[in-house]
């Protein structure tokens, strides 16, 4: 009966795994709702600051911010990779990292130097294994990302850009499409492209205000514009982070659901095998008894 005990143990262990995956599925489902809410709440800020930045680029400002100026030579590229802190969320991190890796190879082939900023520990682990040049990182953001923890890491990248250490900055993250679908995307962060700077009014095609006016600045144009631009880029990164978190939770929910289902199937199958072997053992025993009795 050694075989049947083994099967019984296997069933027990699969059942335990299933309990864990089911619990994780439910946790992810409730976190997903919150993460999606946060993602939606972050949108108005992004929209408004985009409007302000668009107004500003139309205005006749005496000072043009470096983020807005296209550079001709491209030698060094800054990359921001947004990943999750925890695994067990299907192919989510793998997809975005593969996307990043492909682009990085391409850039390297063109002889460009790369510097990486990692948001989330999965990306950090991957990049340090790659021996990429990681200049800053944020990990352990938890379920509620806050702007405060992003500022530092982002500033390193933005400073690098203003100091001409790199000429372009890209961001990689998972865009949330719906619960079943997330898409790894690459977006150009700096220099800010014009199509990103369109305000809502212009996109709707109504009155585009004539150039030639300027703001009153308090205290001065430069620090105020600097502040706005930094906040704008931070808002873009924050939005990418909230999208990635919503993607993470939904991907985890789906992956854990699949794992629980698989475990269920395996348990059914093992139970069938167990019953068969048990019955076979009983039949064998019976026939032995019967034939033994007949022999007497």
């Amino acid at each position: 009966m050694a075989g049947s005990r083994e099967i019984r143990n296997k069933i027990k262990s699969v059942k335990n795994t299933q309990k864990i995956t089911r619990a994780m599925e439910m946790v992810a489902a409730s976190k997903m709702r919150k993460a999606q809410d946060r993602m939606k709440k972050a949108r108005p800020y992004g929209d408004k600051i985009r409007n302000v930045a668009a107004h500003m680029s139309r205005a006749n400002t005496e000072y043009r911010h470096p983020f807005l100026i296209e550079r001709d030579t491209v030698k060094r590229v800054g990359i921001i990779v947004v990943t999750s802190d925890k695994g067990l969320c299907g192919g989510l991190n793998t997809n975005v990292l593969r996307r990043a890796l492909n682009e990085m190879k391409k850039w390297q082939a063109e002889g460009e130097e790369l510097e990486v900023c990692c948001i989330g520990s999965k990306g950090l682990g991957f990049m340090s294994r790659l021996k990429a040049n990681v200049i800053s990182q944020v990990v352990g953001l938890g379920d509620t990302p806050d702007m405060a923890s992003l500022i530092g890491a982002v500033k390193v990248v933005l400073d690098g850009y203003t100091e001409d250490r790199f000429d372009r900055v890209y961001i990689f993250y998972n865009r949330f499409i719906n619960t079943m679908k997330q898409e790894p995307v690459m977006e150009k962060l700096l220099p800010l492209s014009d199509d990103k700077m369109q305000s809502d009014e212009e996109q709707e095609g109504s009155s585009a205000k004539a150039a030639g006016w300027d703001y009153i600045y308090e205290p001065e144009a430069k620090p105020v514009i600097d502040d706005i631009m930094v906040r704008y880029v931070e808002a873009l990164i924050y939005q990418a982070l909230t999208e990635n978190m919503a993607s993470e939770q939904s991907a985890r929910m789906v992956a854990m659901k699949a794992a629980s289902d698989n475990a269920g199937n395996v348990i059914d199958e093992l139970t069938l095998i167990y019953n068969k072997s048990r019955q076979a053992a009983i039949t064998k025993e019976l026939s032995e008894i019967v034939s033994g009795a007949a022999a007497v």
């Binding site: 530092g152 600045y217 308090e218």
Partner: protein
């Protein structure tokens, strides 16, 4: 039009106020500013403090903001509220911290080992299940 303007107060984490407003007082960096409709375009930093909002046919409202930016257009006013306490030195310190953490993480990854180990075990169990499932499908 003309007697009201649209006000939005947003922070990165949520939208705080949105609606037509008659009059507004905000704590700008150089002192409080009062804004009526058709104000000339203005861009300024604001300090942490109360924003007083007077909407039509309503009592005056007070909203707290922890600093940020104020943009005035003739009929739209936007306050971009910060969610974090910001100053140049503080930002600089955070940047240095983030850099240091990056350097340290490359050197030493032992602290995450326990969590990683537990996770790797679970991962293995899950992938085993997936493999068994695949085998089973092939057999039938």
């Amino acid at each position: 039009m003309g007697t009201v303007f649209h006000l939005d107060i947003v922070s990165a984490e949520e939208s705080i106020y949105s609606g037509p407003v008659e009059f507004l007082v905000a704590p700008a960096q150089m002192g409080e500013v009062g804004i009526y409709p058709r104000h000339t375009p203005m861009l300024t930093r604001i300090k942490s403090g109360m924003v007083r909002i007077k909407a039509q046919l309503k009592e005056e409202e007070l909203v707290y903001v922890s600093g940020g930016m104020l943009e005035v257009q003739p009929d739209v006013v936007t306050i971009l509220a910060d969610t974090a306490i910001r100053s140049h030195d503080l930002d600089e310190a955070k940047a240095i911290e983030a850099k240091r953490a990056a350097e340290e993480a490359i050197k030493d990854r032992a602290s995450e080992l326990d969590y990683a180990k537990a996770q790797a075990e679970l991962m293995e169990a899950v992938s085993q299940l997936a493999a068994i499932e695949k085998l089973r499908k092939r057999r039938h």
